[in-house]
């Protein structure tokens, strides 16, 4: 048996709402196939199965909001026999009980012996109103219960994270989610920033020629070349392609570029372009367009939300020349690109007009330093001078 759990679809996700099941009990699923739609505070995400098998039981009802790690369904793996009628104990296991065994990415301490947080009803209500997460608090009430006073004290010392939890509209909730992630980033990550201006003349020229050979629908955007350049440069400075886990950086095998996409209704998401260093420019372009379309339609997949190993953001469209971004935890670096602009540029002792772009790196000083960061930016620059190799 394999448990299908509410996944973590972003660093600050604590719970998700099941929108609908895409499978019924008894249906076959293959690994990677979407079986549920989950509403996080950012978007509706299709969640994929990690197992191939048959859905034995669906435990969560559409509309239910459950914490991450909650077992939502049980999948009988390929080749395993059907279980006899489940023992009563297992049936009775509440869907809301966090199933910690399957959690590998974050550590959630068990709040109490019974799995239920010891908090008074009034304190729970106030915590929700003030946006205080009581899960890790030490209570001072009877038997260590968290009381109103504990919540008030916590609210007083942490006004920065205060947020009204009951906000009907998604936009406000997304703003809060971003606020929490960014505040955590700036609290925990010692950022350093580097930037360099890159001559884009060769890339622009090459792209123009390349696009002339392509049908309209397959034409490339220069942004895709930037992403590819970043992906390949990461092979040379792999410590930037990592996740910070429990006090140490863990380098990622694949290079999955989180691509910041602003949403029309406000806010942004940064879903992954998987294995960006290994895809052809054409595939990258196709995947990128698909990703933007689905991000805006609110139909991203769970792996796209949870897999990015670094983020690339570009504010060129807004006319911004330089962007120094805030790292999205648990990532350890973020690359920013400004607007492609024509500027006076000295080549061979002559001042000429060249298309240039400002590339920046925000990186975690716990993991890398300016020397390695500089090598990384220089590598991007070098690659963009040889666009045909991308």
């Amino acid at each position: 048996m394999a448990d299908f759990v509410m996944p973590t679809l972003g660093a600050d996700m604590t719970e998700g709402t099941l929108v609908q099941w895409k499978k019924r009990e008894g249906d076959r699923v293959t690994k990677g196939e979407g079986i549920a739609e989950v509403d996080t505070e950012k978007a509706v995400i299709e969640v994929e199965s990690h197992t191939t098998g048959v859905i034995e039981r669906l435990l969560t009802k559409p509309g239910d909001k459950v914490p991450i790690g909650t077992v939502m369904a049980v999948i009988r793996e390929e080749g395993r026999p059907t279980t006899s009628p489940a023992p009563a104990q297992e049936v009775a296991r509440p869907a809301a009980a966090p199933h910690l065994a399957h959690r590998t990415d974050t550590v959630v301490p068990s709040p109490s012996q019974t799995g239920r947080l010891r908090i008074s009803p009034a304190a729970r209500k106030l915590a929700a109103e003030r946006g205080i997460d009581p899960a890790h608090m030490q209570g001072t009430g009877p038997d260590g219960a968290i009381t109103l006073e504990d919540i008030e004290r916590a609210a007083a010392v942490a006004p920065g994270v205060t947020k009204p939890a009951i906000v009907a509209d998604r936009q406000a909730r997304m703003r809060q989610t971003i606020a929490a992630a960014m505040a955590r980033s700036k609290r925990e990550i010692p950022h350093y920033y580097l930037s360099t201006t890159i001559d884009m003349g060769r890339t622009v020229t090459w792209l123009k020629q390349e696009n002339e050979t392509r049908p309209m629908t397959e034409r490339l955007l220069y942004g895709v070349l930037l992403i590819k350049a970043v992906a390949i440069a990461l092979r040379r400075v792999p410590e930037l392609n990592a996740l910070w886990k429990e006090g140490a950086a863990v380098r990622s095998e694949g290079i999955h570029i989180g691509t910041a996409i602003s949403l029309r209704q406000g806010g942004l998401v940064a879903p992954a372009l998987h294995d960006a260093d290994r895809l052809s420019l054409s595939d990258l372009m196709t995947n990128f367009q698909d990703l933007v379309k689905r991000a805006r339609a609110g139909s991203l997949r769970s792996s796209e939300m949870s897999d990015p190993t670094i983020t690339v953001t570009s504010l060129g469209e807004q006319g911004v020349e330089t962007v120094f971004g805030v790292i999205y935890p648990p990532q350890v670096a973020l690359v920013g690109f400004g607007k492609l602009v024509e500027r006076p540029w000295v080549m061979n002792g002559q001042v000429v007009a060249r298309p240039v772009i400002m590339a920046s790196l925000s990186a975690d000083h716990r993991v890398s330093d300016g020397h390695r960061g500089g090598i990384f930016l220089a590598e991007i620059d070098r690659l963009l001078q040889e666009p045909h190799t991308l």
């Binding site: 008074s120 009803p121 009034a122 304190a123 038997d143």
Partner: protein, 325 residues
């Protein structure tokens, strides 16, 4: 303001009732020649005569039943039952007749009967004279249940009760008869539908009634010395219960201790606790606590009797537990 005993207050109320309305008469065991077991009707036989101050045989079922009959016949009887323990003999008359006749006659008959009885422990009269069963009576629809705790209520509740068209049961805590208090100004007849806040506070609501009020006020005074501001609520009326006053208080303090001299299991305190949970669950900052009597027949020896009953230190202890101290 005049200082009088609870006994004098009851007597003053009875006297005024007898003077006001010629339909009012008093009957019960030893109310006449003896002047009442608790001396509440001392001198009444001479003053009002044997027609209106009637000694009865030792048969609660008979004289409570006679009271019901008299009430049906247009009189305004006041029946005194010596203790709540003995009232059980009249429970059939109370539950099957007094409480039901209005309903069973489709509203044609009413039973304007007042029954007074002593309740409670603390006087070393042991297990057949000491129990607190007013919570049982509060279970019965069709009657009103009053628990005067102050001299003002001891005098005034009776007068208002006599205006009621339906049976009213007044539980006088036997330990209070010799207690002195100050009569509040104002007309003697008092409200018999609302609870009263006897002390205001913001940290915890102490909800009680009858004889436990004074122990609770003592506990509140002691708590105040450590900076805990307890609100003391005197329910006054157990049926129909003024739950809104209780909920208002708990909404403010977020904590409640119910003090009830009855046994804990199935006590009126349990009812209060349940209604608090139903009404203001999301305002509670701790579980509702109860201070009740130990689950034993009330003992005779003083140290054991004291140990069996709610006491100020037990109330203080319950509050400390709620506050995590």
């Amino acid at each position: 303001m005049a200082k009088i005993t609870y006994r004098e207050a009851v007597r003053a109320g009875l006297r005024e009732a007898l003077q006001r309305d010629s339909r009012v008469f008093l009957m019960g065991e030893d109310v006449g020649k003896y002047g009442g077991t608790y001396a509440c009707s001392k001198g009444f036989l001479d003053e009002f005569g044997p027609e209106r101050i009637r000694d009865t045989p030792l048969s609660e079922s008979t004289f409570v039943g006679a009271g019901i009959g008299a009430a049906l016949g247009g009189m305004r009887p006041i029946v005194e039952v010596m203790t709540v323990n003995f009232s059980l003999l009249a429970l059939d008359q109370i539950l099957n007749n007094a409480a039901t006749l209005r309903h069973m006659s489709g509203g044609q008959f009413s039973v304007p009967l007042v029954v007074r009885m002593a309740t409670g422990a603390g006087r070393q009269v042991a297990a057949q004279h000491s129990h607190s069963l007013e919570g049982w009576y509060a279970h019965i629809p069709g009657i009103r249940v009053l628990t005067p705790a102050t001299v003002t209520d001891a005098r005034g509740m009776l007068l208002t009760a006599l205006q009621e068209p339906d049976p009213v049961f007044i539980f006088e805590h036997a330990y209070l008869y010799s207690m002195e208090g100050e009569l509040e100004e104002g007309p003697p007849a008092v409200d018999i539908s609302r609870a009263a806040v006897r002390r205001t506070g913001k940290d915890v609501s102490l909800i009680t009634f009858g004889g436990s009020l004074w122990k609770t006020l003592a506990a509140a005074t002691s708590l105040a010395q450590e900076g805990i501001e307890a609100e003391v609520m005197d329910l006054r009326v157990l049926r129909p219960l003024d739950i809104n006053s209780v909920l208002t208080s708990v909404r403010k303090t977020h904590r409640a201790v119910v003090i009830d001299e009855a046994w804990r299991t199935g006590s009126f305190a349990a009812e209060i606790s349940a209604q608090i949970m139903e009404g203001v669950f999301y305002d509670l900052d701790s579980p509702v606590a109860r201070v009740c009597s130990e689950e034993v027949p009330i003992p005779y020896p003083k140290h054991l009797e004291d140990a069996a009953l709610p006491q100020p230190d037990k109330i203080v202890q319950a509050v400390h537990t709620l506050l995590g101290r």
